[in-house]
């Protein structure tokens, strides 16, 4: 008795599910009907049932893998196995006699609509989103009821936004001017780039001289909407330019900050500065490879180790250079320039020998891929944001080092009056070496940043050397504030000129601007005042 009750209970619980999982067999069998109208009716019924199996059946029909068997059953035959279309039960062995169900274009259209509708109400969010996006590009008025129904059920805001937009574009083709007017108003608030094209084609004239949009009132509304969209897009573009300008400025700042210390404070023209950047980038690469080899689980955090390694590597090389070559050339800037150029050639060739002449691949850590999506398709990539934040941090550290540490005090003292500092017991020689090391180390940090946004190759430094010198020259010697303003300013000017002139001409314009600028202020933006100015 108990056993019977249990069986009954199980049956009661399971029966509705079986019923729900299975489609109504006679309806499915009607798909095999000769008459197109009957087929279409069957498709509509199946779509309405909203069963999980319905999508599979309709997809099979669209893919021409739906067969009718000798006993009238309809089955899906895909990949050597056959399943009953209505129940999903596998049919073995596969019957020899079967006919493919042929469909014409009219049926195909109906199937596509039905599939889209089914997908729009699918339980998985990803399927609904993909389907909504697909529909957005082919909005037809006959899909309107379907979209409306999906909108009623939809809870996800992203999908709702797409659907609302699709509804509006489909409504634009409606025969009722009031519906079209409402649709235009909805579209005016959209950031989709396709909307502009859609609306402006409505204003164009067709071959017979009539507007695509017959109603004058709707046309006025479209014009207003287009204006609104344009205003919003240009604002968006400015925000994008501002951001990319800031990010380029941060790159320039990181590249030039070390130079501002070695050139600005110490008066050393270090043409190998770009190669110190390159060494920082290669240090990042080496740390990445080491993580891949020994700590593959934590490879996403290799940057945490790369930052100190790059700093130390570049600083060590910088100090060796200072001790071995540059020290002997103090007070002879032109000779320093040539000697450091020689050093840069040696460093380039050494890296080529060690790592090969090809670019090496430094991958962004996982957490740095993607970005913040703003309205209107503007994406602020995480790696660019990282660089801006990183530049700000490095800047803060340099400022603290110069203004709050004993070394910084010595550096400033030696810069202002070397002889007096020496008399007061400042170890000027050691301060020189350490300062040069810090400047080189900061170049190494710049290299870490550069490795995240561009190619890493032996010639990396050569691309930045001219730019970094321009920043320091424009900013004025011996002033961090000048370097910051010059770097960010050059970055912004470059990015705002780019849309009009192209990247190369923008760069040339900036160079010409600097040449003209130092006509007016030969000492840069922030000139040193007092006796040291003419030194």
């Amino acid at each position: 008795m108990k056993l019977l009750a249990a069986v009954m209970l199980a049956w009661a619980l399971l029966a509705p599910r079986f019923a729900a999982a299975a489609l109504d067999a006679p309806t499915v069998n009607r798909l095999a009907a000769e008459d197109t109208d009957e087929k279409i009716q069957a498709i509509a019924r199946i779509a309405e049932s909203a069963e999980p199996q319905a999508l599979a059946v309709l997809q099979a029909l669209a893919d021409d893998v739906l067969y009718v068997l000798a006993d009238g059953r309809v089955a899906i035959f895909a990949g050597e196995r056959m399943h009953d279309a209505a129940t999903g039960v596998e049919i073995t062995p596969v019957p020899e006699s079967r006919d493919a169900i042929a469909i014409n274009n009219r049926v195909r259209r109906e199937i596509n609509t039905a599939i889209a509708a089914l997908k729009l109400t699918a339980p998985e969010r990803a399927i609904r989103l993909a389907s909504a996006r697909e529909l957005q590009n082919s909005a037809e008025p006959e899909l309107l009821p379907l979209i409306k129904r999906a909108l009623e059920k939809e809870a996800d805001p992203e999908i709702r936004a797409i659907l609302a937009l699709t509804e509006a574009s489909a409504s634009l083709k409606s025969g009722d001017p009031a519906v079209r007017l409402a649709a235009v108003r909805t579209l005016a608030a959209s950031d989709n780039p396709g909307v502009k094209l859609l609306l402006s084609t409505m204003l164009e004239k067709t071959g017979d001289g009539n507007f695509n949009e017959p109603d004058a009132k709707v046309r006025d509304e479209i014009r207003a909407a287009l204006k609104e969209i344009d205003a919003r897009l240009s604002k968006l573009e400015s925000v994008g330019n501002l951001f990319y300008g800031l990010s380029l400025g941060s790159v320039l700042l990181l590249a030039a900050l070390g130079l501002a210390i070695t050139f600005g404070l110490m008066g050393i023209i270090n043409m190998a500065h770009g190669e110190l950047l390159m060494i920082g980038a290669y240090a990042t690469y080496s740390v990445q490879q080491a993580f891949k080899a020994w700590l593959p689980a934590h490879v996403d955090w290799y940057l945490a180790a790369a930052v100190p390694s790059a700093f130390l590597a570049a600083a060590a090389i910088g100090m060796v250079l200072e001790r071995s070559v540059i020290r002997w050339l103090y007070g002879r800037p032109l000779e320093t320039l040539l000697a450091t150029w020689g050093i840069s050639l040696l460093l380039i060739q050494t890296v080529r020998t060690l790592y090969g002449a090809q670019n090496v691949e430094v991958a962004n850590p996982g957490w740095m891929s993607g970005g913040i999506a703003l309205a209107g398709g503007l994406v602020l990539p995480w790696n660019r944001i990282f660089i801006i934040v990183f530049a700000a941090l490095v800047l803060a550290l340099v400022w603290l080092m110069l203004n709050r540490t004993r070394l910084g005090l010595f550096v400033r003292a030696v810069t202002q009056n070397r002889a007096m500092a020496d008399c007061l017991g400042v170890p000027t020689r050691r301060v020189d070496t350490l300062t040069f090391g810090v400047g080189s180390g900061i170049a190494g940090l710049g290299g870490v940043a550069l490795s995240q946004i561009g190619n890493v190759g032996p010639e990396l430094g050569q691309q930045y050397i001219v730019d970094s010198f321009m920043v320091v020259v424009l900013g004025g010697v011996g002033q961090l504030a000048g370097t910051i303003i010059a770097a960010i300013g050059l970055g912004e000017v470059n990015k705002f000129l780019e849309p009009y002139a192209g990247a190369v001409l923008a760069k040339i314009a900036v160079l010409v601007f600097i040449i003209l600028f130092i006509q007016k202020r030969p000492q840069g933006l922030f000139a040193l005042k007092g006796r040291s100015a003419e030194a």
Binding site: I269, M271, V325, W328, L329, P333, L334, E335, T336, L337, L338, A339, W341, G342, I343, S344, L345, L346, I348, Q349, R352, T353, Q462, I465, V466, F469, M470, V473, V504, L505, K507, I508, L511, V512, I514, I515, L516, I518, Q519, K520, P522
Partner: protein
């Protein structure tokens, strides 16, 4: 003797004149004869490779003299002389491109790269370049004018020392970026190449090559004598004064602007001529000639030879470029090491260059 010949003879001592005469005899008589007249299997036969290499190095030597004039004597280090060299080359290259005629790949009246861009006619700045004399005018005028305008602005605001060097480097860098652009009408990346003839002579013929070689040698001699004249006359003393103490010179009542501007423009023109001679011999001119690295390399020729000694500049250009072509043949991967070391060692240990090492007199 006319005043001119007297001035000319006074430039060098008799011993120096004898050395110059011997060198010229070698360049203008012995080498052409060894190349053209002697049969190929003769032990003294000089192959086309050597004529070509020597011609090329003499062009570099002209650049070195020009740079020495401005750096060694006036104390202004230019890191942008490659630009003037390339501009002279491009100016002559325009004529050479038009002299190709319809023998290009596309058999059009236009150069191949213009056909590629789908241009139908020459842009305005190519007008008259089918005339050789006009191209020669451009060779002098374009670098000269650019140097004059740039120099005027730079010297007027008293930009000097490393600032000037960096700005000139930026200038040549900007120009390189500009010339890389295809739609500028100068062939973009590839520049000008595949020349067929110059003034009607086939450019690859040994006779033409030898003639170009001899013209280059003569031009080098003329450049040397002109520069020697400049540095030994009164003007040269003002230049040295600018180098040694510009502010003191100003207190003496001189305005350094025009002196600097003259020698700067003259130096640029010399470079332009060197570039114009270089292009038909090498057969190509492209924007990489304007890369900052090339201009710095020119500075090291002068430093190696010895600054402030014009003959040293020639010596340096020959030594460095000779070493370069040897290295790139035998140990290509070590050339940058060698060059880098030369930069470092010469600045550290040989401030007066090879000439100083040979015990020559101190530079003026």
């Amino acid at each position: 003797m006319t005043p001119f010949t007297r001035a000319l003879v006074g430039l060098y001592t008799a011993r120096r004149w004898a050395a110059i005469g011997a060198l010229m005899a070698l360049l203008l008589v012995a080498m052409p004869v060894a190349h053209l007249a002697l049969p190929a299997d003769h032990p003294l036969h000089l192959s086309a490779f050597w004529i070509n290499l020597a011609g090329k190095i003499m062009c570099y030597a002209m650049v070195a003299i020009a740079l020495d004039l401005i750096w060694g004597y006036t104390g202004i280090l230019s890191l942008g002389h490659g630009l003037f060299f390339a501009l002279g080359g491009y100016a002559h290259g325009m004529y050479l491109m038009r002299a190709i005629g319809r023998d290009g790949v596309y058999q059009s009246n236009l150069p191949d790269f213009m056909v590629f861009l789908d241009w139908k006619e020459y842009p305005w700045y190519w007008s008259f370049t089918e005339h050789w004399w006009y191209a020669m005018l451009l060779v002098v005028l374009v670098p000269g004018l650019l140097a004059f305008v740039f120099g005027y602005f730079a010297f007027r605001s008293r930009i000097k020392g490393v600032y000037f060097s960096i700005i000139t480097q930026a200038l040549t860098f900007a120009a390189m970026l500009l010339f890389f652009r295809n739609n500028l009408g100068f062939g973009g990346n590839n520049g000008f190449t595949d020349f067929k003839r110059v003034l009607g002579y086939t450019i690859t013929a040994p006779e033409t090559k030898t003639a170009l070689f001899m013209i280059t040698a003569t031009a080098l001699l003329a450049a040397l004598l002109a520069c020697r004249y400049i540095v030994t006359c009164k003007l040269g003393r003002v230049l040295a004064a600018i180098r040694d103490s510009e502010s003191r010179l100003m207190f003496c009542g001189y305005n350094p602007l025009w002196f600097k501007l003259f020698v700067w423009t003259f130096s640029a023109v010399l470079c332009g001529i060197a570039g114009a001679l270089y292009v038909p011999q090498v057969g190509i001119i492209n924007p990489s000639e304007m890369s900052p690295a090339n201009s710095i390399e020119a500075a090291i020729w002068v430093a190696v030879g010895g600054r402030g000694t014009l003959s040293g500049a020639i010596l340096g250009a020959v030594a460095v470029n000779g070493a370069k072509s040897w290295f790139t043949n035998v140990f290509p991967e070590y050339w940058l090491y060698a060059l880098g070391l030369v930069f470092i060692l010469v600045t550290l240990f040989l401030p007066r260059g090879i000439v100083g090492l040979l015990g020559g007199r101190r530079p003026s």
